[in-house]
């Protein structure tokens, strides 16, 4: 069967932030310098090639952009300064839009009006909902639970979780369909899927593959930039992972008017998460402003929005906490509403459509890649056995 060529693919990718793709003369330097390249996957030159020749079908089925941690060695050593690392990033954004069944992601990535407009609208919507459903503002003392009764907040949380589930579930299904192509080619036994199921969880939590990039860094110093980035990301994951668990299972600890003693988990777990979230978001924003490392040299609008939202959510959370402990009712309520107004867009827009989608796409890509490799091993094993028998 022939391959359908889309000459406009390069221009499409440019809308997603690709730069320098047309400068590439396919020397293979990027793929050979990449610490992650192995017998099973060789990138990023293949990505650039697909974009250059317009092989949209193959690009949409590719897992490679998710497997890259952007150490930047490819871009730093590219003899054409064709920024192969940025092509990988643009391909990630493009793939996010391809997997997205609502079509919103492509709007957000290619139009700033859509991106910022929807963020602001959603934030305002939250304010309106709070205005409609909130209780009275008690001004004698801080009574957050009177202002925002916990059962209503819980209900809102579950509605939001439901919306997220519909968006994300659909995206994952679409990713599975385009990447694994069920029904085409040899079928992969379910047991392979089950045996490899630990991988996405393990890699999702720890990003172990990133260590390969750190160890093979061109300037391999004790605390290289790459190592700092890797540790910061790990801390960031631990921070919002912890916050997610706390909010889902222990909302009553935070949605409260109690003042907990300092040794209470609500205090120190919360403080830990806050500190690492601040550090992580600050690191990303500061880095993108300074542009000192390869991964920070080019910034798409979506690269700014995620850390900005994260920073605002964290800052409003801290302020709300301080005002409550200082016994200042009105500032507490207002910062609380602001906190929600930043949290909702961050979760509803960033997770299914935005940069944060790599939270599940990357572990899933590692998972699907592992399944494919395992399936290939099974398929090749009898052939090998046959050859040795002869």
């Amino acid at each position: 069967m022939g391959t359908r060529i889309e000459p406009g693919l390069l221009y499409e990718l440019k809308k997603y932030g690709a730069v320098g793709v047309e400068k590439c003369f396919n020397c293979g330097n990027c793929t050979a310098i990449c610490p992650l390249t192995s017998d099973n996957y060789a990138f990023p030159r293949n990505m650039i090639r697909m974009v250059q020749i317009g092989n949209k079908e193959q690009l949409s089925q590719s897992l490679d952009p998710w497997l890259c941690y952007y150490c930047g060695d490819c871009s730093a050593t590219c003899p054409r300064e064709a920024e192969p690392g940025e092509t990988m990033m643009a391909a990630r954004r493009w793939l996010t839009a391809q997997y997205d069944w609502t079509g919103l992601a492509s709007k957000f990535y290619t139009s700033k009006a859509w991106e910022f407009g929807s963020m602001i609208l959603l934030g305002l919507l939250v304010v309106v909902i709070v205005a409609l459903f909130s209780g009275p503002m008690v001004t004698e003392q801080v009574e957050l639970n009177t202002f925002a009764p916990i059962h209503i907040v819980h209900l809102a949380d579950w509605i939001m979780a439901g919306i997220l589930l519909v968006f994300v579930g659909g995206n994952i299904l679409k990713m599975y369909l385009s990447v694994m192509q069920p029904g085409k080619g040899p079928s992969i036994p379910l047991s392979v899927y089950i045996f490899e199921a630990w991988k996405p969880i393990y890699h999702g939590l720890l990003q172990k593959q990133w260590d390969v990039c750190v160890e093979e860094d061109v300037d391999n110093k004790e605390l290289s930039q790459e190592r700092i980035a890797r540790i910061t990301h790990l801390l960031l994951v631990s921070g919002y992972g912890l916050m997610l668990v706390l909010i889902i299972f222990f909302l009553q600890w935070f949605q409260t008017d109690n003042i907990y003693p300092f040794y209470h988990p609500q205090r120190w777990l919360g403080y830990y998460a806050t500190v690492v979230l601040l550090w992580g978001a600050g690191y990303a924003l500061w880095g993108r402003m300074k542009k000192e490392i390869q991964a920070h040299r080019f910034s798409h609008a979506s690269d700014w929005i995620f850390p900005v939202l994260l920073l605002m959510v964290t800052l409003t959370g801290i302020l709300q906490h301080i005002f409550r402990y200082l016994g200042m009712p009105l500032p507490t309520y207002y910062t609380y509403v602001l906190h929600l107004a930043f949290t909702a867009p961050m979760l509803i827009l960033e997770v299914p459509f935005g940069k944060w989608a790599h939270l599940y796409y990357r572990p899933l890509a590692i998972y699907f890649q592992a399944v494919k490799e395992k399936a290939k091993e099974y398929k090749e094993a009898p052939a090998g056995a046959l050859a040795s028998a002869e």
Binding site: N26, C27, G28, N29, C30, A32, A42, T77
Partner: protein, 430 residues
């Protein structure tokens, strides 16, 4: 008459193959030529090389007679170990101030017998052999140097006086100082040549710290009959290499080095060296890692095909990284473009096919325009490629663009022709 004042028709700056050819062409037409060379001997880069492509003629056998012809031509005065300090315009002539650096050896008395060199106790790395061997503090620059005169490197000299006592002509003179020569001419030909891109420029290639990674010019010396070991040995431990690889575009077509142009000679010199190695070490495996083979000249593609037929392996793929194993064997990491797979391969020795960059910036002294990469620029490269933006000043050879020997010689004759026409015009046919 003041001995330090010279009048001539033309000044040729640079005693490499292009400068020598320009000087000879002008002198043969009856013009008085002064050739200025910054080194103690003329010959340039070409005298260091082994053989020329695509004919595989011996380089010394072509260069040495040219050097002799220049030195003995009635119309050429050769000023070695000299540098042009400034150029002024006076009455429509160019007046050049030339600095004569001290050799600490009397040029009239020295016979080039090398007695001084034999007794000198100081050994320093030989730049002529790219630091792969040593030379003495006082020495004749190399065996076929023109002029055959000793030169003392005062930086490394300990003033022990052994050379002065050994000299049968009493030519060693520690009291020599630099002096100026004033030269009046009507035309100038700049043939200031090139430098290779530095071997330590790329940290992915070990930044010059890997034992058995050398550059193309070093391999030329290893292959030359006058080379440091008179055979091909790897410099790290003197082992005879069984597997040699060339890394093409190691200093060209690379924007990270600021050299985004093709140096035009590296493909051909690498193929030529590979052929010579195949002759010198018949059992050795030779591999060329390349992006594209650019064999554009007359007979060049045939030469490339011959190399393939000789069993030299050509692998398409840019080497991304060179490391070293525990035996100092260099290891290359490269994507095999034809197979789409990344491999690591160990060789005994790697040659970086470094490119060409300008050796000298003529801007401040000659006020001629240079292009983006520092090569001297012609205002109308398609009409008169050897002209500069200053009337009467011509440029030739690798000072104007990366070019091989064949093209340099053609360009040198073109510059001489341009200079002769200019002389004809300004001097009115006398």
């Amino acid at each position: 008459m003041d001995i330090n004042k010279i009048k001539a028709d033309a000044l040729v700056v640079g005693g490499g193959i292009a400068g020598m050819q320009s000087a000879l062409d002008l002198a043969d037409q009856g013009y008085q030529v002064v050739l200025v060379e910054k080194d103690p001997s003329i010959g340039g880069k070409m005298i260091q090389l082994s053989k020329v492509f695509p004919t595989l003629d011996c380089c010394s056998c072509i260069t040495t007679p040219k050097m002799s012809a220049v030195a003995n031509h009635a119309n050429i005065q050769t000023l070695t170990y000299c540098e042009v300090q400034s150029i002024d315009n006076a009455d429509g002539h160019f007046v050049a101030q030339i600095l004569k650096k001290p050799r600490y050896v009397d040029e009239d008395d020295c016979t080039g017998c090398r007695q001084c060199e034999y007794v000198c106790p100081i050994d320093v790395p030989s730049v002529f052999d790219l630091n792969m061997t040593a030379r003495r503090a006082i020495r004749v620059p190399f065996s076929t140097a023109v002029p055959q005169l000793a030169v003392l490197d005062i930086e490394n000299c300990i003033l022990c006086g052994k050379c002065a006592r050994a000299c049968p002509a009493d030519a060693v003179d520690f009291t020599q100082t630099a002096y100026e020569i004033e030269l009046e001419v009507d035309a100038i030909v700049l043939a200031t040549g090139f430098e290779t891109t530095p071997i330590d420029a790329k940290k992915e290639y070990g930044a010059g710290n890997l034992h058995n990674v050398i550059d193309g010019l070093m391999m030329e010396r290893l292959l030359a009959p006058t080379g440091p070991y008179a055979r091909v040995l790897r410099p790290g431990d003197g082992k005879e290499p069984e597997s040699i690889a060339y890394v093409q575009c190691a200093g060209s077509r690379d924007e990270t080095l600021g050299v985004e142009y093709c140096s035009r000679v590296c493909c051909m010199y690498a193929i030529k060296q590979a052929m010579l190695i195949a002759g010198a070490l018949p059992m050795a495996d030779i591999t060329l890692y390349y992006m594209d083979i650019r064999a554009f000249g007359k007979g060049y593609d045939q030469f490339y095909q011959n190399a393939q037929a000789m069993g030299i392996e050509f692998v398409k793929g840019k080497v991304a990284k060179i490391t070293e194993d525990e035996n100092q064997n260099p290891v290359v990491r490269v994507e095999l473009i034809d197979e789409g797979q990344v491999v690591e391969r160990t060789h005994d020795m790697i040659v970086l096919s470094v490119g060409m960059v300008p050796q000298y910036n003529p801007g401040s002294v000659y006020s001629v325009g240079v292009g983006e990469y520092g090569f001297i620029k012609s205002p109308a490269p398609n009409i008169s490629s050897t002209e500069t933006n200053r009337s009467g000043i011509f440029a030739t050879g690798a000072a104007t663009a990366p070019m091989d020997i064949v093209d340099s010689i053609a360009s040198a004759s073109a510059a001489a022709s341009g200079a002769a026409a200019h002389l004809e015009a300004v001097q009115g046919g006398n």
